[in-house]
């Protein structure tokens, strides 16, 4: 059986390692072959960018060579796919190589898409990109006060990030001794300050305690750079001296170019994690159109289901597990305390009071991540 994994981010890496470990004997016997195609030889721990933006981690802390994370037996090529020929069970790469498969795993992810909001990229700081995180830290370090506006594009990965960024901005300025010179304004696209009601109910009194103003139903339309004003689709506006953006995201262009999904999101069965109409094509993480959080933990839990099902398909001819929608998120409440949210398709998250120990657990996870990517945790 030829298993082809397209994408070397968190989801693709965990799936490949999971399958390689489950099927090591079959790989040694030559009965199973796992190949991974990625656009880069680097693997980035994307949640770490938030800490880079606040000067708590450096870029080299959150990057490893992709080949160092993969189980022996996985064939790895830095050669991104350009054409998916799903009817023929093969792909063609940028370098012109052709890879045939029996089972395909697509984990190409998503990326910030500034094109749809004029002025946003030029005007804003963001922790969502590597260059952006470094630039944001320099800006925060030099900021002397004024109006700080946080704006949120749709859709975006890591849905808890807007709240975390805002809490961390508050504390960063407090520790710098300039909080009294900063007017903080948070905006959010829907009717409450976070899409999960329990989180919104918990965060509102925190915002009030921190004297953070907020406006709901604020979807970014455009940024008037000359006048330092953000306009919303709803007809309101926000002035800023420092604009911090959670940018809108899109799936990778190769997905849309191959006609596999509007916006780069592949229509995916929310339980089987297979591409609609394609039983031998698995999709996971940010790449799916499943209406759940685009976050690393989603990819992690999905990858365990897919890994088990690939092994089961080889051994019994059919998949055995369904994905229950499980997502787990740490939530940084400031720079020293955190809480968490765990939920699935059925059970909503319950939010507990933030603690220092949960923050330390998150700090620890930032180091354990590499074991997680290897499929060990």
């Amino acid at each position: 059986m030829r298993i082809l994994v397209v994408g070397g981010g968190m989801g693709g890496t965990i799936v490949a390692n999971n399958v390689a470990r489950r099927m090591s004997k079959e790989i040694r016997q030559g009965k199973v072959e796992i190949t991974m195609l990625s656009a880069t030889d680097q693997h980035w721990y994307q949640p770490g960018l938030l800490y880079v933006a606040f000067g708590k981690m450096a870029l080299n802390d959150i990057c490893r060579e992709q080949s160092s994370l993969l189980e022996p037996g996985i064939k790895f090529f830095v050669d991104p796919v350009e054409e998916f020929e799903l009817n023929e069970n093969r792909v063609r790469t940028k370098e012109g190589a052709v890879h045939d498969f029996d089972l395909l795993v697509i984990a190409t992810g998503c990326e910030a898409s500034y094109d749809e909001v004029p002025g946003l990229e030029e005007a804003s700081e963001t922790p969502y990109t590597r260059d952006g995180a470094v630039k944001m830290f320099k800006r925060l370090r030099d900021f002397e006060g004024g109006k700080v506006a946080v704006v949120v594009g749709v859709p975006h990965k890591c849905p808890i990030a807007p709240i975390e960024i805002t809490f961390m901005l508050h504390e960063f300025f407090e520790k710098r001794g300039i909080r009294d010179k900063v007017q903080m304004q948070y905006t959010y696209p829907i009717a409450r300050i976070h899409n999960i009601e329990n989180i919104a109910n918990w965060a509102v009194p925190e915002f009030e305690r921190m004297q953070i103003d907020y406006e709901t139903f604020f979807n970014i339309k455009e940024v008037d750079i000359d006048n330092s004003v953000v306009h919303s689709e709803e007809g309101t506006e926000k002035e800023y001296d420092l604009l911090v953006a959670v940018p809108p995201h899109r799936g990778m262009s190769v997905i849309e170019e191959n006609g596999m999904g509007d916006g780069g999101w592949i229509p995916t069965d929310r339980y089987k994690l297979t591409m609609n109409g394609r039983d031998n094509v698995f999709v996971l993480g940010d790449t799916t159109n499943i209406p759940i959080s685009k976050t690393g933990s989603t990819a992690h839990f999905e990858s365990e289901v897919i890994g088990e099902n690939i092994a089961s398909i080889f051994r019994t001819g059919s998949a055995t597990r369904e994905y229950d929608g499980k997502v787990y998120c740490f939530i940084e409440a400031d720079q020293d305390r955190a809480t968490n949210a765990c939920f699935n398709y059925i059970d909503p998250p319950e939010i507990k009071a933030p603690t220092k120990s949960m923050h330390m657990l998150k700090m620890s996870y930032n180091q354990w991540y590499w074991s997680s990517a290897r499929g060990l945790l």
Binding site: V154, P155, I190, A191, N195, I196, F217, E234, P291, I292
Partner: protein, 76 residues
């Protein structure tokens, strides 16, 4: 995008039905009809409020069993 798009946001908490609708609305063409399916009671009030605020059109909203079927049209 086709003229009628069904967005199945049932049994999800994050990003939630309205956020899903906003994402689809951005990619839709003016005049397109979108139907949001939601099991979140809040959608019955949140969606019409957002549609009115932005200036899109509410077509209908009804609960069938446990699922809200909310039809809207992109107007701008």
């Amino acid at each position: 995008m086709s003229e009628t798009t069904v967005i199945d946001a049932c049994n999800t908490f994050c990003p939630g039905p309205l956020m899903e609708l906003i994402g689809f609305m951005k990619r839709a063409d003016i005049g397109d009809e979108l139907e949001l399916l939601s099991t979140d009671q809040g959608s019955a009030s949140d969606v019409p409020a957002w549609i009115a605020k932005v200036g899109h059109e509410m077509i209908s909203s009804e609960k069938v069993g446990e699922i809200w079927h909310i039809k809207v049209r992109k107007m701008k």
